[in-house]
């Protein structure tokens, strides 16, 4: 009896209405997140599983035909395409679009004979369409890379080569395999660079901004909420507001201090996260940077192999694909960040003013954290702009989504989405700020509370 009463008391203290609400909200968040990520994953795995390897075979040798036949036997579905004779790298994006494919392998004329007679592989061209989005949107090129590896492996397979009468002398001269010339296309533009490496660099760049936004939002919100609620909980607010300073000054000083502290926090956390992600994506990043750090002039003077000759540097490729941000666009990103930060602060201020104790403060912070976390994870993994309309509307209705999507939208030239989002943000901010200032300037600061349900609760220990 005594134990059960003690147990009931402890449990009722732990499982408050706020805690239950936060549990349900967390569950709903992960269900929603799972749906979105699942959809993104399904799209990618389906495309990898069902996609045909598009190959333009310009070589009429039996050796090349044999390699392709072995690939088919190995389970690959080949989509053999014909290319116009006049094709140039500039027309690659249009050709991919015309053929309705996202990647293409071009085996050059004389590829087979060169391997068999001289032990030298030709130059295979790989063209891949890149997409700017979450982690899962950059996995499409995996099957193409696998196919190139298969061709390379076959070009060095001594048993296969001997069956074509390749002499021991030629076998000794075998090179490292076919060299690959990579082209990346995006929105009708083309750049001579490896898509996977470029995607890794892009992913790095596109992750830094959301991480910074996420930390900035949650920390600034947490700080302003703590600044207000602690004054209420510690009973210092009444004393402070009875002094000859305007409430607006008190409010603004708290907001400004929260922003400064949050920026410092976001910088330190952001640096840590960049190194953390850098460690994960290090291999791909290094590969891209090592090939990109050589200018075309340096390549020719150093007489390096054709592998890196005339390969664009990452900045050159980003510029050629039109995915660099101008100073004006960086300013627009800053504008979006300020809007989001202001919304977070205003919302946290409004909610913090209702806190009566540490427990209610934690519960009141939950909506802001959830609203920051959901779009953070979603945009990290998937491209919101390619989602079904319903998901898209839900995601963009969360004001912070606009901040996470600002960078990709500006890079992709989705200015309409950016400006509509900014206008929505501005309206949302006006409404939240109005409510927050009104609350702070009025009696409600002292009369509105959250979670005060004690008087409505039935006694746990009352006899039925």
């Amino acid at each position: 009896m005594k134990f059960s009463n003690l147990f009931k008391k402890e449990l009722s203290g732990l499982l408050t209405r706020q805690v239950i609400v936060s549990m349900i909200m967390t569950m709903v968040l992960f269900i929603f997140l799972g749906q979105i990520v699942g959809q993104a994953m399904n799209g990618v795995t389906d495309s990898i599983a069902s996609s045909k390897l598009s190959i333009a075979n310009l070589d009429d040798s039996a050796f090349t035909a044999d390699i392709l036949a072995r690939m088919t036997e190995g389970g690959s579905t080949l989509n053999m395409v014909k290319l116009p004779e006049s094709i140039t790298p500039e027309s690659y994006p249009a050709e991919l679009e015309k053929l309705g494919i996202k990647s293409l392998i071009i085996i050059p004329e004389g590829f087979g004979n060169s391997v068999i007679n001289d032990g030298k592989s030709g130059e295979i061209t790989v063209i891949t369409e890149m997409s700017i989005g979450g982690v899962f949107t950059s996995l499409d090129s995996l099957s193409t890379a696998d196919a190139v590896n298969t061709i390379n492996a076959a070009s060095k397979d001594e048993i296969l080569l001997k069956s074509y009468g390749v002499s021991e002398e030629v076998l000794k001269k075998l090179d490292a395999g076919a060299s690959t010339v990579n082209y990346t296309t995006l929105d009708g533009k083309v750049a001579k660079i490896n898509t996977a490496s470029l995607s890794a660099v892009m992913m790095m760049q596109n992750m830094i901004a959301p991480i910074a936004v996420f930390f900035l939002l949650t920390m600034a919100s947490q700080m302003i909420m703590t600044a207000i609620s602690t004054e209420k909980i510690d009973k210092t607010l009444e004393t402070l507001l009875s002094t000859p300073v305007s409430r607006l000054s008190v409010l603004m000083s708290k907001m400004a201090a929260a922003v400064v502290a949050a920026i410092l926090n976001a910088i330190t956390m952001g640096i840590g996260m960049v190194f953390y992600i850098g460690g994960i994506a290090g291999g791909a990043m290094n590969a891209a940077m090592s090939s990109s750090s050589i200018s075309p002039e340096q390549v020719s003077s150093a007489d390096l192999s054709a592998l890196t000759e005339q390969v664009m540097s990452v900045p050159q490729a980003l510029s050629a694909l039109g995915i660099t941000l101008s100073v004006g666009e960086y300013l627009l990103f800053g504008l979006q960040l300020i809007l989001s930060l202001a919304i977070g602060l205003a919302a946290a201020l409004l909610l913090g003013a209702m806190a009566t104790d540490a427990k209610s403060q934690a519960s009141l912070m939950l909506p802001v954290v959830m609203a920051s976390m959901l779009p953070f994870f979603v945009t990290l993994m998937a491209d919101v702009n390619t989602m079904p309309v319903m998901f898209k509307i839900i995601m963009y209705a969360i004001p912070f989504t606009n901040a996470y999507m600002a960078m990709p939208n500006l890079m992709s030239g989705n200015f309409l989405i950016f400006w509509v989002g900014a206008a929505y943000q501005a309206l949302f901010l006006a409404g939240t700020l109005y409510a927050a200032v009104r609350m702070f300037m009025s009696d409600k600061l002292f009369t509105t509370t959250f979670g005060d349900t004690e008087n409505k609760k039935k006694s746990l220990f009352a006899k039925k």
């Binding site: 004393t239 009875s242 000859p244 009696d443 002292f446």
Partner: protein, 247 residues
């Protein structure tokens, strides 16, 4: 000369059927100690909060040195300090840091701030403890610090809700003595609220008895004792409250 004049001050909270303060009127003279007494929830804190400009009155007006509460709250607030019941102080600051911070919100210049802080240091009686963080203070020490803060700026009117709550007998006596001295020597006026009738009897020049939001009786302690035919203020309190409930 009156420092504070309260005229028909009322407050009705949203979603509540009754007035928390209903047509409250009283005045406080220069150097006078006026005490508001009444049962819990009678409207003392609501009245005090309105006079501290924390909440706005639904109707009525109050004047401080001629400045109207509703029309010139900034001027009104400059002349008042407020010590809430169970108030806290910033735990990360030292005692002296707290006095400096709060003083800076009242002071016109550095010299005035220094005089405020010196005064606060002396009144608090905390000595070297003022150099310690408030986080390590006892409840009594915090109360002394807050009291020092409330009077160091030499306000026209110091509003104190349960001024000596949490203090031991010796500290409480010191505070009462300090309030008395400030009212006599510095002509500082006080509006007190307390449940300690002995304290009120010792301190107050006049008492206002508030029940169900209304001031039902006011006068000197002697006048109230005579009116309710009582030997002490506790008896006055009980009789007045019972009378009001019967009515």
């Amino acid at each position: 000369m009156n420092v504070l004049e309260v005229k028909g001050l009322s407050k009705k909270y949203p979603k509540k059927d009754v007035f928390a303060a209903d047509n409250v009127s009283f005045d406080v003279g220069e150097g006078e100690i006026y005490a508001l007494i009444g049962p819990n929830g009678a409207g003392k804190t609501t009245t005090i909060r309105m006079l501290s400009t924390l909440i706005s009155p639904t109707s009525g007006e109050a004047f401080m040195d001629g400045f109207a509460l509703t029309k010139a709250p900034e001027e009104f607030r400059k002349r008042v300090t407020y010590l809430p019941d169970e108030a806290g102080a910033y735990k990360t600051l030292t005692g002296i840091g707290y006095l400096e911070f709060m003083g800076s919100l009242f002071a016109k210049d550095r010299a005035e701030l220094e005089s405020f802080v010196q005064r606060g240091e002396a009144i608090s009686g905390l000595g070297e403890k003022l150099r310690d963080k408030i986080g390590g203070y006892s409840r009594g020490m915090i109360r002394k610090l807050l009291l020092a803060r409330a009077v160091m700026t030499n306000p026209k009117l110091a509003i104190m809700d349960e001024a000596t709550s949490g203090l031991d007998v010796i500290n409480a006596l010191e505070i009462r003595k300090m309030i008395k001295e400030l009212s006599v020597n510095n002509k500082m006026s006080f509006l007190l609220s307390s449940h300690n009738m002995l304290e009120i009897e010792y301190l107050a020049d006049r008492v206002g008895l508030i029940t169900a939001g209304k001031i039902t009786a006011q006068g000197t302690v002697a006048e109230l004792k005579a009116k309710y035919n009582s030997d002490n203020l506790e008896e006055v309190f009980v009789k007045a409250v019972n009378e009001n409930e019967v009515l």
